[in-house]
């Protein structure tokens, strides 16, 4: 990987200007690893072109640490100091990220956090990293993507792609014994015994491929729920890239995602944790009877984090009837085993819920009947009902059964239109993957 202009002369004790990654590496290592050369290609070629610019909000002491990291990245021959300085930056900015509400966190601190992740990844990948180290580096990238803010033209996205292909390369060399075993496992988990039978007069109406105009006049404007059939059959997720456990493992197995643990978010035992997709599948989908509780990858913008999956879906045309520009439509993934429950609640935007894998029981209540649904009074849960829809406490909530509702079993290929502020309750009947589109 030597360019013609590298003279191969001894590395002088350089002032920081002009120190180039490649010259230094040629003299440090006899052979450059392929991985490092790919990483060096996405990083700025020298210290001068690696910009560290922050607003006044970021203390000078922190900028000093960042400057030291940059200097170590381009000048040190080992990664120890860089790893330490990167961790200092991460520890300090993590504290800022956890101060106040998430909305209040200044974007500059999220950028600082991302730089910390970048330096840490560089330190981890320094010399022929093992697969373990690579996975640690991927996790660090994910933390930067989840908690940080985009830096250097989305460099972390570029890096995670490089790391994933490196992991794949190591895996194909060693053979994929473990994952082959799970491939053979039949993922036909037994049907949940409580599949409701939908009564005709309570069924949400179904319409096949309505025109934009008829959807607008018959359902969107009057805010009436409907199930659209045949509108996502063209999605690669339902065609040439059918979403399966094996496919998800191969595309995103080592990626870290936020997972909700606990039966429902109104429970005291409910919590959120970060785990890799592989671990999530192993712990909560394949061996879910081992007392680890229900795990749900819920309400996560997975497709921003993992662009390969974004290519498998399409934004429904019907969203263009709203005011939101396409890039501002919130797209969330909902992936989990049978038995995940979202308690009855309402959202402040229109929702198109597309079912890709498995099926869900869904019940809808119109906002006209909010008074019979006993919403929580607290500021945190005012959009959530206190009632357990499929097992209501008649003594505490006597009016609940007076509230009229519509229901359905949503199956692969269906898209449910949930009008803004419409109360909805969702229970998965088996392994399920849905994609929701929130717009106004």
């Amino acid at each position: 990987m030597c360019h013609a202009h590298c003279s191969g002369s001894r590395r002088p004790h350089l002032p920081s200007a002009g120190a180039s990654l490649e010259i230094r590496l040629i003299e440090t290592f006899l052979s450059m690893t392929v991985l490092w050369s790919k990483l060096a290609a996405v990083l700025p070629p020298n210290e001068d072109e690696f910009l560290l610019q922050f607003s006044d909000k970021v203390d000078s002491s922190v900028v000093e640490m960042l400057t030291r990291s940059r200097q170590q990245l381009y000048n040190d021959t080992t990664s120890d100091r860089l790893l330490l300085t990167a961790q200092i930056i991460l520890d300090f900015s993590w504290e800022k990220l956890n101060t106040g509400t998430w909305r209040d966190v200044d974007k500059e601190w999220r950028r600082v956090y991302s730089y910390g992740c970048l330096f840490k990844v560089a330190a981890i990948c320094w010399k022929d990293p093992t697969e373990d180290k690579l996975q640690q580096a991927i996790k660090t990238c994910d933390m930067g993507l989840l908690m940080g803010a985009a830096i250097m033209n989305d460099i972390i996205q570029s890096i995670v792609k490089i790391l994933q292909s490196e992991v794949k390369r190591l895996n194909t060399e060693e053979g994929q014994d473990e994952h082959v075993k799970t491939k053979r496992l039949k993922i036909e988990l037994p049907q949940c015994p409580r599949i409701p039978v939908i009564k005709d007069d309570l069924a949400i109406p179904r319409v096949k491929c309505p025109s934009l105009e008829s959807f607008n006049s018959d359902y969107l404007l009057p805010l009436k729920p409907v199930i659209l059939e045949g509108t996502i059959d063209h999605w690669p997720a339902l065609n040439d890239h059918p979403w399966s456990i094996e496919y998800l493992r191969s595309v995103a197995g080592f990626r870290t995602v936020p997972v909700e643990v606990g039966s429902r978010y109104t429970d005291e035992e409910w919590s959120q944790t970060l785990t890799t997709v592989n671990d999530f599948i192993d712990k909560f989908i394949l061996s879910k009877d081992q007392g680890k509780g229900v795990g749900y990858l819920a309400q996560h913008q997975l497709f921003d984090q993992i662009p390969e999956l974004k290519d498998d879906i399409r934004i429904p045309d019907y969203c263009c009837l709203g005011d939101t520009e396409e890039e501002h439509i919130t797209v969330n993934a909902w992936f989990g085993p049978g038995g995940t429950v979202s308690p009855l609640h309402q959202d402040p935007q229109q929702n198109l819920l597309a079912q890709v894998v498995g099926s869900k029981y869904i019940r809808l209540y119109s906002p006209e009947h909010t008074d019979k649904l006993y919403p929580h009074q607290s500021s945190l849960l005012y959009n959530t009902s206190q009632v357990d829809v499929e097992n209501p406490d008649m003594e505490r909530f006597p009016d609940f059964t007076q509230a009229p509702y519509l229901e359905c079993v949503l199956r692969p290929g269906d898209v449910l239109f949930i009008p803004v502020q419409h109360w909805h309750y969702v229970r998965s009947l088996q392994l399920s993957f849905s994609v929701s589109f929130w717009w106004t």
């Binding site: 203390d59 000093e64 640490m65 170590q72 100091r81 106040g100």
Partner: protein, 393 residues
């Protein structure tokens, strides 16, 4: 009086390498000082007249340490990350000449003088403070109060001077990054600010805009209060320690899932036989004050139980002083001081480090010490001098 420091030293705020004071420390064993180290005043190299071998008080933020010299020519010395044009030879801060108290945050230096209070921005080189207020005779009555309390209220960087109603009879006040805890002269505790991690101690996770009494401590005569990043603690006249808030790093001294996870990872126990973890009860948020029992952990002989230092919480930078980088969710005595016959009389925390004032055991009878506080907390850690020391308060 001697001062020791341990924990984060990334800017040389505990001790600086002699040769490269400007570059700062970068090697692991220098950045993380896990063994209590004497804080030395380098008098030999000083070229200006203002030097001192006696440090009365220390305050620390994340990247800096300020040392107060209060006798004679009172002033502040700055160590660690630079700021305010402090003299390179000894860290003398010109602007602090004749101050009577000082307090620092990561961005600002607050100086109290006999007739005024000033707030200076470390990073600005102008010759005037960001904010100043003149007081009159009120100072004489409140001579025992400490910054950030001032006669009219308290200084915080959100609103500079915030007023406090006189009814609260503020005696001392501690500021976390997003909450405040106040101790009144009657021994009552008030908290306000963000409450999302239970740090206000009112049993719920909502914020409070105005000071609200911590009802669970009603009737308990509290002697000292402290505020960390997301937790609070206080010590009563009967030597009881109460903690509340976030326990993610074991800073409450209660079983912490976060701490146990790290301990398991480092003991290389990767197999699934760590099922016992599921049965243990972990506390991540404690929204009401909990009484913390120090005794079961210590093995101090009865004779030397005074002047001991207990620490617990986040330890990854060595700030617990146990000569390792391990976080603890149980209070543990810092043995270094026992071993060296040193009696801890005061403790002060920076964000990721701890400073202790000590006296040699022989000196105790000779000079009665004035201990203003025995409790301090860093962002995710708590340090406590044993409570005999608080008799004088």
């Amino acid at each position: 009086m001697l001062w020791f420091g341990f924990g984060f030293n990334g800017f040389g705020q505990i001790y600086a390498r002699e040769e490269t004071v400007t570059e700062g420390t970068t090697d692991a064993h220098e950045v993380k000082v896990s063994c209590p180290t004497l804080v030395k005043k380098n008098v030999n190299k000083c070229t200006c007249k203002h030097n001192s071998t006696e440090l009365q008080q220390i305050q620390a933020s994340w990247s800096r340490r300020i040392s107060l010299q209060l006798k004679d020519d009172s002033c502040v010395f700055l160590d660690g990350f630079s700021g305010l044009g402090a003299k390179k030879c000894c860290g003398f801060v010109e602007q602090s000449h004749r101050c009577i108290d000082a307090f620092n945050t990561e961005s600002h230096l607050i100086l109290a003088f006999r007739d005024r209070t000033e707030v200076w921005d470390f990073e600005k080189s102008e010759n005037s403070p960001v904010w100043a207020a003149i007081q009159g005779h009120i100072w004489k009555h409140l001579a025992s109060t400490k910054l950030p309390l001032v006669p009219e209220g308290y200084i915080s960087l959100k609103h500079l001077l915030s007023s406090l109603i006189p009814h609260l009879q503020a005696k001392s006040l501690a500021l976390g990054p997003e909450h405040v805890i106040l101790l009144s002269a009657t021994g009552a505790v008030y908290t306000w600010g963000q409450g999302s991690h239970g740090q206000l101690g009112h049993g719920i996770l909502t914020s409070e805009e105005e000071p609200r009494a911590v009802e669970a401590l009603w009737g308990v005569p509290v002697k000292a209060v402290a505020a960390g990043g997301w937790h609070s603690c206080c010590v009563s006249a009967t030597a009881d320690l109460y903690v509340w808030g976030w326990n993610e790093a074991g800073q409450l001294g209660l079983p912490s899932r976060g701490v146990k996870k790290i301990q398991q990872q480092s003991s290389q126990d990767k197999d699934e036989s760590t099922q016992t973890e599921d049965k243990e009860v972990f506390i991540s948020i404690q929204a009401f004050p909990a009484l913390l029992d120090l005794n079961p952990q210590c093995e101090i002989k009865a004779v030397s139980s005074e002047g001991s230092l207990y620490t617990w919480g986040w330890g990854e930078y060595g700030q617990l002083g146990h000569q390792n980088l391990i976080s603890l969710d149980e209070p543990q005595c810092v043995e270094y001081f026992q071993k060296h016959q040193l009696h801890v009389t005061d403790v002060v925390c920076g964000a990721w480090n701890t400073f202790t004032a000590v006296l040699k055991k022989e000196e105790i009878q000779k000079s009665p010490y004035d201990n203003k506080r025995g409790l301090c907390t860093a962002y995710k850690e708590v340090s406590l001098c044993t409570l005999e020391c608080l008799e004088g308060v």
